[in-house]
Symmetry: C2
Subunit: 150 residues, 2 copies
Amino acid sequence: MDLIQYKPVGIIHSPFKTPQETPLQSKLSKGAKGEIILQPQYEEGLSDLNKFSHIILFYHFHLSKTYKLIVELSHSNSSHGIFATRSPNRPNPIGFSVVHLDCINGSRLYVTNIDVVDGTPLLDIKPFIPPIERQYGTTLGWLAEGFDGE
Amino acid sequence: MDLIQYKPVGIIHSPFKTPQETPLQSKLSKGAKGEIILQPQYEEGLSDLNKFSHIILFYHFHLSKTYKLIVELSHSNSSHGIFATRSPNRPNPIGFSVVHLDCINGSRLYVTNIDVVDGTPLLDIKPFIPPIERQYGTTLGWLAEGFDGE
């Protein structure tokens, strides 16, 4: 299949300088603050976004260099297929995070609960819409065991 | 910034042959069935995924050829910044959908509530984890007006 090319639209800054110190998910980030610097030519595309409380960041796991189809997760002492995990080392290392949008100043976005490494290239921003994302009757697969819920 | 290259890992089949007939979100798909054909070399990466009820598909809006920073939405008679919408015509046309996983057979996944055009290139699959995705105290921005909720 044809290669697909994307060009980062900005960069994500966070307090986390290495993957090791980066929280596994935004809920574990303890309110860490992030700053997203959008390239100025895209600023107009932020119009109306400040009315949403949460946004979804799509980004490239730029530190991911290779992947395995079966991954061992250090935090759960178990191994799983890569598509049953959120490991950053994937065939196409695309990441996404739901974060709280604090405010927008020009082409800069200030967010809370950031969970990505400082310097991560931003690919896209979409509004978070709970009535779409919230699904009922879900089961959690291998995560159910020992998962601490909310 | 450097270009980022991804290679599709599979293809998504759906009953929707054109963007015009494709539902705007999975909740509006009326239970449409989809079939995802993963390339066989990635099959091992599906291990354990069948224990999740819902999965997130990441894909390339392959019919998107251009974009505007301010978009007019036909279904709401309003215009908004591209990053405050889910329009497929975006700087980096990455889409994502939460769908119900019915079953997996080898490298084929059968899903319900598909909302993408037939033939869409698949970039990634991740498990849907409601305790992560579900955020409280959200506000819906411009969507709140006239949005019919669940």
